[in-house]
């Protein structure tokens, strides 16, 4: 393309309106001007300093495979990805700032909207942070119910991801099968919490309301249903030769890289990074259940896929162990009407569906936090995308991104 050989001043002339605008700003130097133009060129995908064959493509903010408003500036040579610059912030809602105006009870409903696919797990993180800060003893019943619901949410999240992974690779039918099964979990949850996606079911000290009378029966029915269908998932995608070719050995992440990038969750565990918070730092009733931490050594897209599928099975194991042993008791601890965290800093981490979610609270002793910071798993996982996809094709970029299972609102917050 011809304009690659143009000098910056020629380019400025070409962008006549820009020249005019910049000239009016009297203190703009020639260098600043050319820098600005260069920057504009880069943003619009025409970096004058890159080689002739290389070109930029904007994947997103509206693109079918970014599942939201993530913008990836992909530098390509033919179809080979040279590097990726993710641009985030298209769904930035300022949740961290909003928390500074809200009481701890009110914050819960905002955390639903971080990673909407693991909404109650986000609730759980804040609840635990506040409860630990207040040193409240939580009834055992609450711990059990929270654990079960978190695992149900995790299953629902992984089912959605399974379908979407199929869709990203072109198997649209898998998408519908994933959603069909997710619907069953959602029905169980809806009966109990009253919502299908954003539950707001936990509150500092306990639960919004006691579990539904059918809760245990529904869960057992659901698990029976789901166990029969795990073979179908394997038949349709896991064992399919095209799917294996598209995922095996692609986007390999070593254990060191996973640690360096802070890639957690199933994506990290597929690289043999033992980062399961449920196992490493048990909270709620996870220490009561006997379950495995899914670890794989492959570190490629396929093992990330496998780790998630196995996690569905493992979550069902956890639920099965706990569901019959929910102790009787109150569904909420006795809490004051106005919660005031003592001055200090508090940190709590939980295992969200996509990795480790951390909540860091600075309190000045008010009823609202002074500052609240969420360590979202997706932002760290996105960071590794550039490393993972270099020198692969666009199609692989889609597959690798899908295997990382990004949820954009959690990145932007």
């Amino acid at each position: 393309m011809a304009h690659h050989n143009q000098s910056p001043s020629e380019m400025v002339k070409k962008l006549g309106w820009l020249h005019k605008v910049l000239a009016e700003e009297s203190d703009t130097t020639e260098k600043e001007m050319t820098d600005f133009v260069k920057q504009q060129e880069i943003i619009s995908g025409r970096d004058p300093e890159i080689s002739e064959e290389e070109y930029f493509i904007n994947m997103g903010p509206q693109h079918p495979s970014t599942h939201g408003v993530l913008r990836l500036m992909v530098s390509l040579k033919g179809e080979i990805v040279q590097n990726i610059k993710p641009h985030v912030g298209y769904v930035h809602r300022g949740i961290e700032k909003m928390t500074e105006k809200m009481t701890y009870k009110q914050i819960i409903h905002l955390t639903d909207r971080l990673d909407y696919l693991s909404s109650t797990i986000n609730n759980h993180a804040v609840c635990l942070a506040v409860e630990n800060g207040l040193e409240v003893e939580i009834p055992e019943r609450v711990k059990y119910v929270r654990t079960i619901i978190d695992e149900l949410i995790r299953i629902a999240s992984h089912q959605l991801w399974w379908g979407v992974m199929g869709m990203d690779l072109g198997a649209l039918t898998a998408y519908f099968y994933g959603f069909r099964d997710r619907e069953k979990v959602i029905d169980v949850l809806e009966k109990n919490t009253g919502a299908r996606l954003l539950h707001s079911y936990y509150t500092p000290g306990g639960l919004m309301r006691d579990i539904h009378a059918d809760f245990q029966k529904d869960i057992k029915e659901y698990i029976k249903y789901q166990r029969n269908l795990m073979n179908e998932y394997d038949d349709l995608l896991s064992n399919n030769v095209i799917f294996r070719e598209r995922t095996e050995g692609l986007g390999i992440m070593t254990r060191e890289e996973a640690i360096a990038y802070g890639v957690t969750g199933p994506s990290g565990r597929a690289s043999n990074f033992a980062c399961d918070v449920r196992k490493q730092h048990p909270y709620a009733a996870y220490d009561k259940a006997d379950f495995k931490q899914i670890l794989y050594t492959g570190g490629d897209s396929f093992h990330r896929y496998k780790a998630r599928l196995d996690e569905i099975k493992e979550s069902m194991n956890i639920i099965e162990q706990l569901v019959d042993n929910i102790p009787e008791g109150s569904y909420t601890a006795k809490m004051k009407a106005v919660l005031k965290l003592p001055e200090g800093t508090y940190f709590q981490r939980v295992e969200a569906a996509r990795g480790e979610l951390g909540v860091y609270v600075i309190s000045k002793g008010d009823k609202v936090p002074y500052r609240m910071k969420f360590r979202s798993p997706n932002l760290s996982n996105l960071g590794a995308l550039d490393k993972l996809t270099r020198n692969y094709k666009i199609a692989d970029l889609v597959a690798i991104m899908s295997s990382l299972d990004l949820v954009i609102p959690d990145i932007d917050r």
Partner: protein, 365 residues
Amino acid sequence: MNEKYIPRYDMTGVIQSIHEYFLSVMPAGLAYVTELVLIGILFLLFYAVVGLILVLAERKVAAFFQLRLGPYRVGPWGVFQTIADFIKLLLKEILEIKAADKFLFNLAPFIVIIASFMAIAAIPFGYSLHAIDFDMGLFYVLAVTSVGVLGVLLAGWSSNNKYSLIGAMRSGAQIVSYELSIGLSLMTIVVMIGSLQLSTIVQSQADGWWIFKGHIPAVIAFVIFLIASTAETNRGPFDLAEAESELTAGFHTEYSGIKFAFFFLAEYMNMFIAASIAATVFLGGWMPLHIGNLEWFNNIMDYIPAFVWYIGKTAFVIWILMWFKWTFPRLRIDQLLTLEWKYLLPINLINLVLAAFIVLMGWHF
């Protein structure tokens, strides 16, 4: 080969009398032109109807695979859905792309649609029911359908969109390589028949379809033809040129309204043509199912009109192609080429040698 098989419902007489009627009312040259125009109109209508039915069928079949109901609201069982869609596409604004190469941009959909339109001419729908019976009919169909890729390439290039260009380049590489497999897999049967004329190919299957008569090579060739023709028609799992999760819509990203409809229609017509060829060469075309000397069975089969046989077989092949699309994930471009050059082509060549050997030994029926 035995003597010609003439089906119970023979249309030759009707066609002949129409021809004679035209000759009686106008000079021979004019009659010839009139007939051509009539056939052209007939084919256009056929093209539109088949396109509409196929789009609906695809949506219904996809829905059935995906636990859905499919179109359900417009007319009973949604039968008028595609007509409503078609009207919507007609009414939509045709976007003008500033940076596009206007002439090529407008030309591309026509190339695609004309290529698929031309191929219908040679397909035998029934005994003597074809527009023209080339003695190289099969070769003609292959040659004409492969022109369509030119339109796809032009569309991708002239859109001046990077996604489109990538899609077009993929499509180019794909069709150039899969053309080989299509040709060779058909060649396996042609070796056994000894003719490229489509009417002869159908006639040769009066005593059994080639997929049964041709031993294992015919079955292998049929499978390869199905795979290759899926790739040739740019359908999933080989829909890399469109690949909506990677390239948004590939080569037709910038097209809207009726121009998009042309691409859409051409895709389905290409599928129809590929299925027709598969039905004609492997499954006997309009020929009823005949089993050796089982007279009573063959007689019953003869009562079903030839056209119904043809449509039934074509629909069956189309259904298999749809089944592929709605089950498998998409391949990557290098895997697509690996599949062709490392698997399909060598197997095809060995298969062809095997078929030639069978013919040499006279083992085929």
